[in-house]
């Protein structure tokens, strides 16, 4: 006999995860971005044209002094103090991006963002997530299929869908690991393995990260095209959100093929993944002449979204593997247990039942050997569209 406590809490606990991600995303956005912005506002880049326009708009006829060093001694002082605002644009005989700029205005801010915010807070977020998941597992345990594993299954993911899922998963995992090496390796690995060995590892990580990056774009595009229709928000999703994915009211909130949390995960993947791809491409194609400022900003965006995305994926991996009974089955074999579907995607399960799409495990055969795909002449409509 299962205890009442377990029965009442487990579905809610699952959904608690999805809610946690959304909060995490929001929180991290507010945490990290304003710092960067505040600093960005402190910079004044001389812009006579804009100044003139401002004066005209404000009908202000008073001359505006532009701090500009005239004598060599002042110029040198401003350069030494990295005061880009005081230095007018220059020219140089030396070719190269930004080489006519005496001072890189955003350089120091980028440094502070990376060293004082991204690395420490990123570490806290990722470490915290791992800790959270571990605690969750030890306190709540695995979410079981309450009605037990049945002898019936529903067709959930086609071969192609499973392929592209594991395709993006393997690329993401590789990118996350190499990215983590590059971000935290100096603090955690150099003390352990030394400079030489870490440099080797970092070089390998960097080359691998740059090479696999564009593949993530391909994978993301495949995932988007295939799953977007099932991830459009619908009526019940608001209820799901209002009841905190089942946390409030302590019972399962009905959902379709994907629930609100999964849909949010999808859209997060699309937008955060899109940001990762765009910023990543800006960073790995320096040959198009983009300057340090754009690349610094891209790096910041890349770092923030990567941390958020990795934290969310840690939760996703947890729920998909040890966190919930029956969750991995669908992505592994293509079929999910009927009872699992009823407990987590009841509307979808109900529709499958109505449409007589329930298969017995015998029909499915040796672990998903039989596959009712279009090629089999028995066209199974992909559910949840």
């Amino acid at each position: 006999m299962r205890s009442m406590e377990e029965t009442r809490w487990s579905p809610a606990a699952t959904n608690c995860f999805h809610l946690f991600w959304i909060l995490l995303l929001a929180a991290s956005t507010f945490l990290v971005i304003p710092g960067g912005l505040a600093r960005a506002e402190g910079v004044e880049i001389p812009n006579p044209g804009a100044d003139l326009w401002r004066e005209v708009r404000q009908r202000d006829a008073t001359p505006v002094p532009v701090p500009a060093p005239t004598t060599g001694i002042d110029l040198w002082r401003e350069v030494r103090q990295r005061n880009a605002a005081a230095i007018p644009a220059g020219t140089t005989q030396v070719s190269g991006t930004d080489s006519a700029e005496l001072i890189n205005a955003l350089g120091d801010q980028w440094r502070r963002f990376r060293m004082e915010q991204l690395v420490p807070y990123g570490g806290y977020v990722l470490g915290g997530m791992v800790l959270f998941v571990a605690l969750f597992y030890f306190i709540r345990g695995r979410v079981p299929i309450h009605a037990g594993v049945s002898n019936k299954v529903l067709f959930r993911y086609s071969v192609y869908e499973r392929m592209i899922h594991w395709f993006i998963a393997s690329i993401f995992l590789f990118q996350a690991i190499t990215g983590i090496f590059l971000l935290f390796g100096r603090d955690f690995l150099i003390p352990v393995i030394g400079h030489g060995a870490f440099s080797l590892l970092a070089s390998a990580s960097k080359e691998g990260h740059n090479l696999f990056g564009p593949l993530f774009l391909l994978a993301l595009a495949l995932i988007f095209v295939r799953f977007v229709r099932r991830n459009i928000y619908e009526k019940g999703d608001l209820t799901w959100l209002l009841r905190g994915g089942g946390v409030i009211g302590k019972k399962h909130v009905p959902s379709n093929f994907f629930n609100m949390g999964e849909k949010s995960m999808f859209w997060l993947l699309v937008f955060a993944g899109g940001t990762l791809v765009v910023s990543g491409l800006i960073l790995i194609f320096p040959n198009f002449g983009q300057g340090r400022a754009l690349m610094g900003l891209s790096h910041a965006a890349h770092g923030i979204t990567a941390i958020v995305m990795t934290a969310v994926i840690i939760g996703h991996i947890y729920i998909g593997s040890i966190g919930m009974e029956g969750a991995l089955e669908g992505m592994k074999t293509g079929y999910c247990d009927l009872n699992w579907a009823r407990e987590h995607h009841d509307w979808w399960a109900q529709r499958c039942e109505n449409e007589d799409k329930i298969l017995s495990r015998d029909q499915v055969g040796r672990a998903g050997v039989h596959s009712p795909e279009p090629a089999a002449g028995q066209v199974v409509e992909e559910s949840g569209k």
Binding site: M163, L200, A204, K206, L215
Partner: protein
């Protein structure tokens, strides 16, 4: 040092195993021979053999739709691998130094990387297809998985050594390539050579019957 071993003796050993192994396998196949076809042919077999050798590079139209996943991934992998194996600058240098004695124009660096990306995507998708599709999962034995993983490892170590500035990374890549070379003749990676024999036999036989195979 282990590096010298990998770069020297082990390389020559694996190259020798590869070369002799491939020759042995081809001999092993042809040894059994084929009985002469006594039925009066409609057309000569040699032309058919050559035709099949090339025509099978393209899929039959009726298979394009149902087999598109394997076909796309398969083309990506094979074309990408071919380009990066024979036209990447480091490989051209290596082949010139160790094998051919002459070099040829390599791909520009970006094209080399694009080729490896295409090959990686293809190989990953093919491997996943193998794992996911009931047919390939049933058919596949350890041989296919070992072969795929070895090729993947060689490509991955190569990609990690792209900076060409760490000797250790180059040696890791070379070592994994040596493993692949030794494994190659004893596995169905041999299809890279034997497809010529298979297509020729089938093409010749079918051509004698008057069918374009």
């Amino acid at each position: 040092m282990i590096g010298d071993l990998i770069d020297g003796p082990l390389w020559y050993f694996s190259a020798a195993v590869f070369l002799l192994g491939v020759l042995w396998r081809v001999f092993e196949i042809l040894r059994a021979g084929v009985a002469r076809d006594l039925a009066p042919p409609r057309a000569g077999g040699s032309a058919g053999a050559v035709r099949a050798l090339f025509s099978r590079f393209l899929p039959r139209r009726s298979l394009v739709k149902t087999g598109k996943l394997q076909l796309i991934a398969g083309y990506m992998f094979h074309l990408g691998l071919f380009a990066l194996l024979f036209f990447a600058a480091p490989h051209v240098d290596f082949l010139e130094e160790r094998v051919t004695g002459f070099g040829w124009t390599p791909l520009p660096h970006w094209a080399f990387i694009v080729a490896s990306e295409v090959a990686f995507a293809g190989l990953l998708l093919l491997l996943l297809y193998r794992l996911m599709h009931p047919v390939t999962r049933l058919l596949s034995s350890a041989d296919e998985y070992i072969g795929s993983v070895l090729v993947f490892v060689v490509m991955l170590t190569g990609c990690l050594a792209l900076a060409r500035s760490f000797e250790v990374l180059r040696l890791v890549h070379l070592f994994s390539a040596e493993l692949l070379l030794v494994y190659f003749p004893f596995s169905n990676l041999m299809h890279a050579f034997t497809f010529v024999i298979s297509r020729s036999y089938t093409g010749a036989n079918m051509a004698r019957k008057g069918v374009n195979a």
